[in-house]
Point group: C2
C-alpha cells in the first residue's frame, strides 16, 4: 500500500510554464540567429525550473530559478536586458506569490538589484510587508546580505538604442507607448509534486518611462497571482490595462466563483476583458490539476512549457 | 413624459459613504471632546460630498472632496495627520477609481503633496499610467501646476509622539505593527445621480514604516475599486492583508460572478476572508442601486453615510 501511495504521489502532475514578453513579434522581424538565441534561453529556463520540480523541489524555487535565467539574459526586458527610463536609468519591478500560503512579495523601481524577483521573495519571507520600493527596497536588500550591482551592469546596447529612438520619436509628448517599448517582461508559473502553485513576474517596465511610473509587474492582483484552489498566472504586456482589469486575480475569481475552466477563464480575461479595455499583452497559467494554457492578443509571445512526462516546448509566434 | 422622466431621474438614489480608519477605538480611549471633533469632521466631509451629488455633480468629485476634508484634518492618518516613517518623514499613498470608465490613478510614497488623492486623480486623467511613485510623482505634480508643500506641513505633535513611542517599543526589531500605528486611513465611495460609482482612499501608511513600504492604499485592486455594474469599495486597516486578499476587487467579483448582494460580499470579504488570513480592518461600500454597507473586524471604525432623502449619520464604535 505504501508503495502504491508512493507511486501515486510520484506520478502527480507537475510542470512549469514561462513567458518572455508579448508584442509585435513576427517572423519578418526576427533573424534565424535571434530566434535561436531566444529558443535556447527559454529552454534553459524551462529545464532549470523543471529540474527543481523533478527533484521534489517547490514551485516557488522553480519559478524563481526560471525567471533568474531570463533576468540574466540580455534578450528580455528584466534584469540584465531591462529598458531605460526617461532619465537613462534602469528601474525594475517584480512580484512573486505562493499559492499555498497566499503570501506574496513585490518590489518596484529598484535600480541596483541583479535579480529583482529574488528581492521580491525576500520581501515575502523576511518582512511583514508586501511591497517595498526604490532605495528603501535596496537598503533592505543590503541588510539581507544581497550584493547590489553597479547601475551600469544593466547597460545593453540594444536597449540604449531603443531608448534613443523613443526619445527621438517623443517630439514633446510626455508619454507614449508602442509594443517595442514594453516588450520582454518575463514570468513563470509552476505546480510542484506537493500540489503547490506559484507565480512570478519580473520587468524593466517601459522604455522612456517617467515620473516614477510603476506597472503591473509589482502587483499580485494585476500580474502575478497563485492560489492552490485554482491557478497560478503571470502576465506580460501593456501593464496599465492589466492593473485596471485586475487580470491575474480575475482569472482566479472566474474559476472560483463561476466554475470556469482555466482555459475559459484565461480566454475571457485576454480576448474579452483586456481587449475591450484596449489593452494588449498575454499571460501563462497553470491550474492545480496540472492543466496549463497561455493566451495573447498580440502578434506573438515568447513562451514555453515543460510538463511531467513531456519534452520542453518553446513557441514564439501565433499558433 | 419628459417631465416624468426628469422627475424619475432626479429621484434616482445617490449618496456617499466615508471612513476615517478602523482599529482599536473604544469609548474608554476617546474623550468626549475628541469624539466631538471626529464627528464634526466626518459630518463636514459627508456634507461636502453630498452637496456635490445633490447639485448633479459626479461621484468622483464627491469622493475627492470628502477625502480632501479628512486629508486636511490632523485627526486622520492622511494628508495633514499622516504618520511618520522610520526616517521621520511622512510618506503617503492614495488611489481613486472611476466606476464608469474603469480608469484608475494612484500615487505612492509622496512626501510633499498636500492632498495625495488629488494627485492620484491627475495621474488617472492626465497620463496613460496608473501608478506614479516618489519624487517622480512629485515632479509630475509640479508640471501639472500643483504647488508642493514643505515637508514640515505634515508635522503634528500627536503623530510625532506616536512615532517616538514606536521607536522606543521597537527594541531592535526591523518591523512591528499595532492597531495604533496604522489607524486613520481615509476613504470614500459615492453614487451620483447619473448612476456612476467612484471610490477613493488616502493614507499615511504605517508609523515607523521603513524600506519604502507601500500599503494597499495605492492599489485599485486591494483598497479602492469601483465598477458601475456592481459596487464601489474603500478599505482601511492593516494593508498587507488587503493586498494579499485583493479585497476591494474581490467584493466586485463575488457580486459579478456569484450574484452575492453587496452586504453578503462585504461580510464575506471581512469576516471570512480577511479574518482567516489574520488581517484586521474594515471598509465602506455602495452599490449601483444605492444600497450601502460597511464592515470591520476591529473594535471600531470612524465612518458615516449621507444618502438621498436622509440625514448624515456618523458612527465610531461597534453597533
Amino acid at each position: 500500500m505504501a508503495e502504491t501511495m508512493a507511486r501515486h504521489t510520484s506520478s502527480k502532475p507537475f510542470g512549469i510554464v514561462i513567458h518572455g514578453g508579448a508584442g509585435t513579434i513576427t517572423r519578418s522581424q526576427i533573424t534565424p540567429e535571434q530566434e535561436a538565441e531566444y529558443r535556447e534561453t527559454l529552454i534553459e529556463a524551462l529545464e532549470a525550473g523543471y529540474a527543481i520540480l523533478e527533484h521534489n523541489g517547490c514551485s516557488l524555487d522553480a519559478v524563481q530559478k526560471a525567471i533568474n535565467i531570463m533576468e540574466d539574459s540580455p534578450l528580455f526586458n528584466a534584469g540584465k536586458g531591462a529598458v531605460f527610463t526617461f532619465d537613462g536609468k534602469n528601474e525594475q519591478d517584480a512580484c512573486i506569490m505562493d499559492g499555498g500560503t497566499l503570501e506574496t512579495g513585490a518590489v518596484a523601481a529598484v535600480r541596483r538589484i541583479k535579480n529583482p524577483v529574488d528581492l521580491a521573495r525576500l520581501v515575502m519571507e523576511k518582512t511583514e510587508h508586501v511591497l517595498l520600493i526604490g532605495e528603501g527596497a535596496e537598503t533592505f536588500a543590503e541588510l539581507q546580505g544581497m550584493k547590489l550591482v553597479d547601475a551600469d551592469y544593466f547597460y545593453t546596447d540594444r536597449r540604449w538604442q531603443q531608448y534613443q529612438r523613443a526619445k527621438k520619436n517623443e517630439e514633446g509628448q510626455q508619454t507614449f507607448l508602442d509594443h517595442d517599448k514594453t516588450l520582454g517582461t518575463v514570468g513563470a508559473v509552476a505546480l510542484d509534486r506537493d500540489g503547490n502553485l506559484a507565480a512570478g513576474t519580473s520587468s524593466g517596465g517601459m522604455t522612456n518611462k517617467r515620473f516614477g511610473r510603476v506597472g503591473d509587474s509589482a502587483s499580485n492582483a494585476a500580474s502575478t497571482y497563485a492560489n492552490n484552489n485554482t491557478c497560478a498566472v503571470s502576465t506580460t504586456g501593456h501593464g496599465e490595462y492589466f492593473i485596471r482589469a485586475v487580470t491575474a486575480y480575475d482569472i482566479h475569481a472566474m474559476m472560483e466563483y463561476k466554475g470556469l475552466s482555466l482555459k475559459e477563464a484565461v480566454h475571457t480575461a485576454i480576448h474579452n476583458k483586456l481587449s475591450a479595455l484596449g489593452g494588449t499583452g498575454g499571460l501563462v497559467a497553470i491550474d492545480s490539476k496540472g492543466n496549463f494554457t497561455w493566451s495573447f492578443n498580440t502578434e506573438g509571445m515568447y513562451r514555453g512549457h515543460f510538463m511531467f512526462e513531456n519534452e520542453p516546448i518553446v513557441k514564439i509566434y501565433e499558433e
